[in-house]
Subunit: 229 residues, 2 copies
DNA sequence: GGTTGTTTGTCATAATAATGTCATGCCGCA
DNA sequence: TGCGGCATGACATTATTATGACAAACAACC
């Protein structure tokens, strides 16, 4: 998923402020100061969210919103409308025109981010939400629970993520570095050896019914999660 | 409860307009342009509301309404008839045929939504109004009361909503952001951490008989309301 | 309109859990 | 036996959550 956010706003200062805040939080702002540019940028950059000022020259915000929501290709794109305080009518119109949320000027960066994230969360299709069962081990991402033969297992967040990764990537060996990438995420630096410690913690956590044997050490290579012994 | 709305309307433009408005408000439109299609879609999609144009080719609206209201399986399905202005006779006939409400062309999206929601509310008295019991906790949405093993519990409105949400969404983990979305509602902005405070208040409120243990903290993920320990 | 009592959101601080690192001991393999 | 790689327990540091206090917003009531 791209992190592009199309900002449709005629006032440069506000545009830059929005862009700055978004940029600071790993979003990629794309700017449009009027209706034609907005249409153009929409097609060329394929953003995953639109921040739309209600009053833009060359065609009102509603017009643009309707265009977006009327096109099969873009109708799923979430739109957050920016309105001035007290324009209740605008809000209603905006929401009817297809905006997913609105934000009232003036607003804090925090609020902006909260709304952007909330709207994107709602728009994002649920994935990786399936329950997984392997050899009596049962991991439920939705409930955030792990059970072994029905008995509840307790573990820390990192161990949970690690187990989740393993259970969705059976039989294959992963080096410590790979595990750090996939489970911890890129651009976090921790020692390779730290993986060992978490492997141990995970083993301990799932050892109630002997499932720790599924986590296999491959000397010189890394670790493997396997159904076979 | 599904949010499917069967739109029986021969004119494509009106059909699309209706669908568009409904879609923007979390309904799921299903379309039928004539009598046979309507019968077909009714069976295959099981909508929870029917928007029915009076004049559809291949059998009048009344015929379809009578069919719906005559079948034991569908007689509870609410029907809103769409009529042209001034066709008073039609309205009478429509209501006699079993329509629950009617709306006169032209109408605003607002009016449409108001009627749709009103009818659905009437048709689904049980929706969100059912008493809920979990492990001796008893929440009555109608009386706005909560009791634990018969004893009345006191809490603020927000805690009540929060508990209601939890009791209708057992076992699953919700992040603070999600809880804000679902319980506080969209377009209100409050800090994530505020959820913590309300969780604590709710815990305190239901702690009389130890029910606070049902609200479980899932570190790094959010909170969960669970029957299990 | 003023008063009283609730409710609410936020903050500062305390409490707690998780994390990463290290030192040490173990094991397999040449 | 010696070596490199791995396992394990302990521990300081960091993150995350719980809690109490407070002021603003709100409602109900004279």
């Amino acid at each position: 998923m791209s992190n592009k956010v199309l900002i449709v706003e005629d006032e440069a200062s506000i545009r830059e402020m929005l862009g700055f805040v978004l940029e600071q939080n790993d979003f990629e702002p794309v700017y449009a100061e009027d209706y034609p540019t907005a249409v153009d940028k929409l097609a060329s950059t394929q953003p995953s969210l639109i921040l739309l000022d209600w009053m833009i020259p060359g065609g009102s915000g509603v017009k643009f919103a309707k265009l977006v929501k009327g096109d099969e290709n873009t109708k799923e794109l979430p739109i957050i409308m920016i309105t001035a305080r007290g324009e209740e009518d605008d809000k209603v119109q905006g929401l009817e025109a297809g905006a997913d949320d609105y934000i009232t000027k003036p607003f804090s960066p925090k609020e902006l981010l909260a709304r952007v994230k909330a709207v994107m969360r709602r728009a994002a299709p649920a994935s990786g939400e399936d329950e997984i069962r392997v050899n009596g081990l049962h991991l439920d991402p939705v409930c955030h629970r792990v059970t072994a033969n029905g008995e509840h297992l307790d573990m820390g967040p990192t161990e949970f993520k690690l187990l989740h990764f393993f259970m969705t990537h059976l039989e294959r060996v992963y080096s410590r570095e790979q595990l750090l990438d996939y489970v911890w995420g890129t651009n976090v630096y921790v020692e390779d050896r730290t993986v060992d410690v978490h492997i141990r913690r995970l083993r301990k956590a799932i050892s109630l019914h002997g499932h720790e044997k599924m986590i296999q050490t491959v000397r010189g290579a890394g670790y493997r999660f396997s159904k076979k012994s």
